[in-house]
Amino acid sequence: MQLSWWKLLCIVLLAYVLVIGLVTPLKPGILKISPERIKTGQTVDIEISGYNTHYKSSNQVAYLKASTGYLIQAKEIKVIDDNNMVASFDVPQFLPTSNSIEQLSVITSSEKDGSSVMPSRLIVAQDSVQLEMGKNLWSIKEPTFFGIKKYSFPFRNILYETIRNTFFHVSLWFAMFALLGISVYHSIRYLYKSDLLDDWKAYSQVRTAILFGVLGLITGSIWAKYTWGTWWTNDIKLNMAALSMLIYFGYLIIRAGIEDPDKKARISASFNVFALVAVIPLIFVLPRLTDSLHPGNGGNPAFGSEDMDNSLRMVFYPAVISFILLGIWLSQLVFRSDVLSHKSESAEI
């Protein structure tokens, strides 16, 4: 087998993505708190359950933070084990907001684990609103939070360990689009030069792209089950992706429907060009017009700092490159297999 440099690069990058992507731990984070509803003017003990935390190993500090930036510090912390502790807060009578109900974020910080946030989870109710009094009772001064020095992936509530699927699920779609783009290039080449090899290349690339698309749907569906609680939702992007697959199944059906090789190549090359043009609005335009659970659609930012930090980017970009290279490699193998089977058929005749 002739091993080109890019195939070697593909293997190295895939190994890097698999090892770093699966072995790197998540940053310590807060898994849950209890209770989740409190009233002002009381001393409350909040049980904090952590993930990947080391509460016993270093001194912990905990805060409650309002949406206006005001916060209070826990007066006492009882560590139960590495992943559980109880923080006692003297919650003042008034909140530093003009609402009677406020959602507070719980923040913990220590030298070893860095800072963890459970955003807007603790619901606190006050009997009457006294904004100025509340501002005096709460502190506006931002304390110094510890950062984490170890290389780790961000801890995101709902996503947890499944955040690693970003490297596989998203990369598969990138690779699919790259392959479809290359196949359109070969289809156009066929339309102008009428070389059947170009059509076979396009065909092999579309089949590989379909495989990647189906894998993208499967990985997305499994991810959806763990994060959104269902295998399939009526999310627009999800359904448009499935529809895109239908368009390309149409391509396969068209090919199967024509026997004359030249006609088959001509019609399917034309359809292939048209299919990519039809898929672009489905995946990139329509999902932006309506609400969507996917990042980058329906008002959600596309891989903003909330979704993708530098630690993820260090694996994500190599993952995209490696999956594209893998796709090209696979489609080459399919193409060569097609050529060989065609040759053997011709020899038999």
Binding site: G250, I267, S270, L286
Partner: protein
């Protein structure tokens, strides 16, 4: 231009001579509208009404698509291409289908309004959206039909081709018409209309880029 007009006139004459086909199409339309009225919820929501409207439109467009290259098959096509440039023929088909789809749009609206007069539709806003959608749909249907006539002229295959690739347009049609039904002025949905126009233009550009390769024999 004269050739295109002759081709369109030929299509109209063909339709007139085979009136049973057009009659079948319209009776299907009336039948579906009546079934929706008879079995459907009498107090349907705007989104339900809108969805049914575009579904009926989509299925009728399949019917139209399955017929437009029916007359120009095999040897007759070779003869026809000696008289008319395939591009002109395609353009005439697109204009003819555009006209047919617009008439169908208005008929669906008429019957939907007849059976469910509670839903208020501003006629000219609705017509504008339909005409804009029909530019793209007519191009798409004519192209798919051309593809299909090169394969086996199989209606199921045509559905397989048209259904997924028409979805961006139908999706946009649903989204825009829903806003208009909710009382949003046509000017406020300008961005959606521009998007439909964009899809129309891309569809036309791609179809006219590809047709010489399909028409080539």
């Amino acid at each position: 231009m004269k050739t295109i007009l002759s081709c369109i006139s030929r299509d109209f004459k063909n339709e007139w001579r085979n009136l049973y086909q057009l009659g079948g199409l319209f009776s299907f339309l009336i039948g579906v509208c009546y079934l929706i009225y008879f079995f459907g919820d009498k107090n349907q929501s705007l989104s339900e009404w809108n969805l049914k409207y575009w579904l009926v439109y989509l299925f009728l467009s399949f019917f139209v698509g399955s017929r437009i290259y029916e007359e120009d098959q095999g040897r007759f096509r070779i003869f026809l291409h000696q008289l008319v440039h395939p591009g002109q023929l395609l353009l005439s088909k697109i204009i003819f289908v555009f006209f047919l789809l617009t008439v169908m749009n208005m008929l669906i609206l008429f019957f939907f309004q007849l059976f469910n007069p509670e839903i208020q539709v501003q006629f000219f806003n609705w017509l504008s959206i339909c005409m804009l959608i029909n530019v793209g749909m007519a191009t798409l249907i004519s192209f798919s039909s051309l593809l299909n006539s090169n394969i086996r002229n199989n209606t199921i295959l045509l559905t397989v081709i048209i259904l997924p690739i028409s979805f961006p347009l139908i999706g946009m049609a649903y989204s825009t018409s829903h806003s208009v039904l909710e009382g949003v002025s046509i000017l406020s949905v300008g961005s959606k209309l521009r998007l439909i126009l964009g899809i129309d233009l891309i569809t036309i550009a791609i179809v006219f880029f590809l047709y010489p390769h399909i028409a080539r024999n």
